[in-house]
């Protein structure tokens, strides 16, 4: 009755994002490696920052139902922050 579960694409924000060493705005390697473009770069919701020029950014896998499990994002991430799993 329920549709097939999408692959789970998780990003470790201790390694990438506002708490990590790398500014996602300068990297974006996963976003370019992903053929179906499932990643979105955005300001973290609920974090107060300068609305004109926000400095904190993170990347989230949004369109995970379109993920084709190629694992290119895992390979290309310099911080080894991305993991993909599916059942």
């Amino acid at each position: 009755m329920f549709p097939k579960k999408s692959p789970k694409v998780t990003i470790d924000y201790a390694k990438c994002g506002e708490h990590g060493k790398v500014d996602p705005r300068d990297c974006t390697k996963c976003m370019k490696a992903c053929d179906p473009a499932i990643f979105i770069i955005h300001e973290p919701v609920g974090v107060e920052q300068d609305p004109i020029d926000p400095k904190q950014w993170r990347i989230t896998a949004v369109w995970t139902s379109l993920c084709n499990k190629c694992l290119k994002c895992v390979e290309v991430c310099p911080e080894k922050a991305i993991s993909v799993s599916w059942s």
């Binding site: 009755m1 329920f2 549709p3 579960k5 999408s6 705005r25 990297c27 974006t28 976003m31 370019k32 179906p36 473009a37 990643f39 979105i40 770069i41 955005h42 300001e43 919701v45 609305p51 004109i52 020029d53 989230t60 896998a61 949004v62 369109w63 995970t64 139902s65 379109l66």
Partner: protein, 289 residues
């Protein structure tokens, strides 16, 4: 003609009605406030929870029994909203339509309200991390985007004249980007984009999830079988997979249901075999936008 032409087209296409570009209309819709809030928070649009649901894993959510149907109905109601209390952060009332180069030139040459600017594409930045200067915005949106440094190109003239705007849209179109015109918020028109599928936020929702964030153009492509030489150059240009080269027939065939009528493929044809015809003239496509 779609429902938006009936409502805002004054007897023609909605994007050919000069009233929809006017400053007075923008003021009456409080467009400056709407656009400021929308553009400051644009990258959050798919992350933010709306009535308990965010767009994360939307493909799964839309397929759920009952809930999926409700979600789709509610999402489209929001996208097409023209009520007074629409929320800018979720992009209520922001949607568009694909147009061929000819219509884009008419809009930029005659209808678009000044000042005109060309800034970094929001969608390509959000979905690919690429900053590419190809979005032509005008009217009250220009002043709003100017204040946001992440969208303003550093080494390029971003304030442009009508003639420059026409030149640039033609350049983008010939590169293979699809011209589209946008309500923001409906019925105020202030943007002509050069989109790419699936990097465009609107085309993503339409082509992958069937939500009407972008309407197909008022035209559809027609192949002249006598002129087609089966070189297949046009097939590479189509971003929607509507063209196919059939070697045994020695020509290209069209899937009209997949064609968005952007007319990009024409730029690749050296034999003048492709032309756009009004969508209404093809019986099977009547009323399908």
């Amino acid at each position: 003609m779609c429902q938006w032409c009936m409502k805002h087209g004054a007897g023609g296409k909605w994007y050919m009605n000069a009233k929809n570009y006017s400053n007075e209309l923008a003021d009456s819709l409080l467009a400056r406030e709407y656009l400021t809030e929308q553009w400051r928070n644009f990258e959050n649009i798919y992350i933010r929870k709306i009535m308990g649901f965010s767009s994360i894993d939307l493909g799964y959510k839309l397929q759920m029994p009952i809930i999926g149907k409700l979600l789709k109905w509610n999402a489209e109601k929001m996208i097409h909203s023209d009520s007074k209390n629409r929320k800018a952060v979720r992009g209520d009332g922001h949607f568009g339509q694909v147009i061929p180069l000819e219509d884009a030139k008419v809009i930029l040459g005659n209808l678009a309200a000044e000042p005109i600017i060309e800034n970094y594409c929001m969608c390509r930045w959000m979905q690919r991390g690429i900053k590419e200067c190809c979005c032509i915005n005008f009217g009250q949106l220009s002043g709003v985007i100017e204040k946001l440094p992440r969208f303003i190109p550093q080494n390029l003239q971003y304030k442009i004249s009508r003639e420059e705007a026409i030149e640039r849209i033609e350049k983008h179109n010939k590169r293979g980007y699809i011209a589209s015109v946008w309500f923001q918020p409906v019925p105020y028109i202030n943007a002509i984009c050069s989109c790419e599928n699936p990097e465009c936020g609107g085309m993503r929702l339409r082509s992958d999830f069937g939500l009407h964030t972008v309407y197909k153009s008022e035209y559809a492509i027609k192949v002249n079988p006598d002129k087609c030489q089966a070189c297949g150059m046009c097939v590479q240009k189509c971003q929607f997979g509507s063209l196919k080269l059939v070697p045994s027939l020695k020509r290209v065939i069209v899937d009209p249901m997949k064609c968005w009528g952007c007319g990009i493929c024409r730029h690749a044809c050296k034999h003048d075999a492709l032309e756009i015809v009004p969508r209404e003239s093809i019986p099977g496509l009547r009323g399908i936008y």
